[in-house]
Symmetry: C2
Subunit: 144 residues, 2 copies
């Protein structure tokens, strides 16, 4: 049983749309109206930094991040992928994998910047199902 | 000779403070007054996304990113490390490796967010020299 920090929202995962998981991490959909094609890869243990993991842990986490990047590129054909691991508010290791479009609310600024415009509405039929199928094909069924 | 895009500021590297380099990438100091302990790891070839690299290229680039993260943690003892590969304005693959402090200009927001306060001034004696020595110890002399 891993350590759970009661005040950490990434240790408590009750309401997420999980797209893939194994015993070390999970992939969740994290999009909103401004940036709908947005996934998060969340390490299970409560650690803060990539260099707090051992080499095998880092390699596994990034292998899943690249799989999510490929799944998003294949599913939504973005103009750019943005990757980030910040954790200033929630220092529990996680990666943002975000599909960006030239007409989204903030492009070419970061998704953490002030909006520049009303986002062009976008949606993809069966987004969750396509991501799940893509990740299972690329990563296997997981074990978590 | 790699392809050079004349309009790409990361293909043209004349004025940078290079901390380490090899034939595939370079590490440069990218700090400003608000965020002085900020490095960039820049892939040499003009490609946009991590999944445009092959697996060996991705592994090499991230190996150097982790080395820079360790060098920054050891040298400036930050409250948090922020990692990001965005490239919305300059779609030439590069990573930001940023040491964050609770009293910096934007914490806990991203460095791309609006400032919240005047940054507490920070500097470290021989920052470049310490980073260079750390990276050479961890990564070797490079070949670029």
């Amino acid at each position: 049983v891993p350590a759970i920090r009661p005040s950490c929202e990434l240790c408590d995962s009750a309401t997420e749309a999980v797209l893939w998981r194994d015993d070390r991490l999970r992939v969740v959909r994290a999009g909103d109206a401004d940036h709908p094609a947005f996934c998060r890869v969340i390490w299970r243990r409560h650690v803060a930094e990539m260099t707090d993991l051992d080499e095998a842990g880092r390699a596994h986490l990034m292998h899943v991040v690249w799989a999510v990047e490929r799944a998003l590129r294949d599913t939504v054909r973005p103009d750019k992928i943005n990757l980030a691991s910040l954790g200033n508010r929630t220092p529990h290791l996680h990666w943002h994998v975000i599909a960006r479009f030239r007409d989204d609310a903030r492009f070419p600024d970061s998704v953490w910047s002030e909006p520049r415009r009303e986002a062009a509405p976008r949606s993809w039929p069966e987004f969750d199902e396509r991501l799940r199928a893509w990740l299972m094909r690329e990563l296997g069924t997981g074990t978590g």
